[in-house]
Amino acid sequence: MELKVKTVKRVDGFQEALYLPAIFNGLKLTVQHFFRNLLGAKDVVTIQYPEEQRPVSPRWRGRHRLTRREDGFLKCVACYMCETICPAQCIHIDAGDHPDFSIEKYPVVFDIDELRCVFCGLCVEACPKQAIRMDTGVIAMAYSSRKRFDYTRDLLKDTYTPNQRTKYTNIPLPKTEDEALPNSRGIPSS
């Protein structure tokens, strides 16, 4: 494509020099907004936060969770992939042997320091067992003590509940865990 140049128009003529026409035009707009919102808050976009929560996208990267097998045991095999790729180095894993031979290894310790976490989602991509996920839909964590941000294994252990807080009805919500997979091939999951 060839380079097309457009010179912007600097409007500053007699009509502007009178001040009043532009001010009346502006007043027309603001008064319009004022009365529309006075009589029914039609344009108001504010969300009354604690009572009313913003619907988030199904892809929202919120607080982590550790998924579980059908028998309820953690899927994580303590392979250290998420710990390796984490840019913020906020994941700490200690592996341990499990007496059950069908489970080779499991994380004895799985800590995530949510204060250090940058919510990049690389751990989810790196996990070969879809054991760690960020689809809890928890937007903000606010606690009065720093200690409470150290999420341990048992706090992270979670079963999947579909994220209800979405208003994008045209985007179907993932119903099962398989549908909620991060899909690196880029084929839409539905």
Partner: protein
């Protein structure tokens, strides 16, 4: 200047008064300090001090793997994070000598232009707010909110997007996204029209920005201005055209340029660029090809999850990719891309290992802030506000 210095040192009644604008001051967008010397209301001289937001981007990058830098680039320009994501990923792709698939490039164009609009909305809105047009600012922020929700739908976050990968994107646009995009763009257009009617022809506003902060073509080039700042001086330098990266060659748009190079021109150029970006997005969404959004190349991308879960080769590849990291070939590249307020260039040096030897980002607003004393001299103290607003300093990018 020596005369001024002498006067200040020796004469207690000198009419020149130093005044600290910043670091914490309502007109300073990030944290930056201008020690300003004023004579009455006129600025005699100004000494900028930056570095309050220095987080050691380059040092951290040299101690991270290539993929771990991507989240860091979100935080460079925090009003248009995706543009920095794209810039970094394209630089690494250049280092690898690969190109992302067409669909990935088209989605990058769409998301990048959305980011450019949000960048301009924030910049123009904040500049207008500081000359008193508060309503204008909040209406713009409303428009930005519409667009950020689009960003959130695709990337899963509003600001910390971390969306691009090497050779493609982390994920494709969701179903129904293009319709949603269309409605959001219509809303944004309405707001743009409304705000244009509110402010552009208001003489009070014109007085505030016209012939304020003028910089000539030659000086702008000498200061290495890029983006809207240079275009406002009348030079149609747009990297989307001059270096024609990505798929911008398939898309038709005009480059708005100004004539004088003052704050009014910068405002108008940015306003026009938003319209051009909207048109680019519309064209790109019409032309959107089907296909994958990331290269199937074991050097650069994680294997498909189905392979990772399903067979041992995929798992091994995945494991190697995570443990060793990306290993671009030996070499150095400089990849310029058009960021929100100018040329965002990544200069990368690789020695073939998993971490970069050098990851330098060329921040566009660095030059603008360096030029602030030059632009501001002789203006009134109240003019710092529109000038600094039109400069669009982003602390994260400036200090890195």
């Amino acid at each position: 200047m020596e005369a001024v210095e002498k006067e200040i040192r020796n004469d207690a009644d000198a009419s020149i008064m130093p005044i600290e604008i910043g670091p914490a001051h309502p007109a300073m967008h990030g944290i930056v300090r201008f020690t300003t010397y004023i004579d009455g209301e006129e600025i005699i001289d100004m000494i900028p001090e930056i570095g309050y937001l220095h987080r050691g981007f380059e040092k951290e990058s040299e101690n991270s793997r290539w993929i771990q830098i991507t989240p860091y680039t979100d935080r460079l320009n925090y009003v248009s994070p995706i543009l920095c994501n794209i810039g970094y990923s394209m630089a690494v792709e250049k280092l690898f000598g690969i190109e992302a698939p067409r669909r990935a490039e088209y989605t990058r164009v769409i998301m990048g232009e959305i980011s450019r609009i949000t960048d301009h909305l924030t910049c123009v809105g904040a500049a207008a707010m500081e000359v008193g047009a508060f309503t204008f600012f909040l209406w713009f922020i409303k428009a930005r909110e519409y667009l950020w929700e689009l960003v959130e739908q695709v990337t899963g976050a509003r600001l910390t997007t971390n969306w691009t990968r090497f050779g493609g994107n982390a994920n494709d646009i969701p179903d129904g996204f293009l319709q949603e995009l269309h409605t959001r763009l219509e809303q944004t257009k309405d707001i743009l029209k409304e705000c244009d009617a509110l402010l552009t022809r208001n003489k009070i506003f014109i007085d505030r920005v016209k012939d304020v902060g003028v910089i000539s073509k030659e000086d702008a080039m000498s200061f290495a201005f890029t983006g809207p700042m240079l275009r406002a001086c009348g030079i149609p330098y747009d990297i989307r055209r001059s270096d024609s990266y990505s798929v911008y060659d398939d898309l038709d748009f005009e480059i708005p340029v100004g004539t004088v190079g003052d704050c009014f021109d910068r405002y108008l150029v940015r306003m026009e660029e938003m319209w051009q970006s909207i048109s680019i997005i519309e064209q790109a969404s019409d032309k959107m090809p089907a296909g994958p959004v990331i290269l199937d190349d074991r050097r650069v991308s994680f294997p498909d999850k189905k392979e990772v879960y399903g067979n041992i080769e995929g798992l091994i590849d995945h494991f190697k990719m995570v443990m060793d990291g990306h290993q671009p070939p030996l070499g150095e590249v400089y990849m310029p891309t058009e960021g929100g307020n100018g040329e965002v260039g990544f200069y990368l040096v690789s020695d073939g290992s998993g971490t970069p030897v050098k990851c330098r980002v060329r921040p566009p607003c660095f030059n603008y802030v360096a030029a602030m004393p030059y632009i501001c001299k002789g203006e009134y103290i109240a003019d710092i506000v529109p000038i600094f607003g039109s400069v669009n300093m982003i602390g994260g990018e400036l200090d890195r």
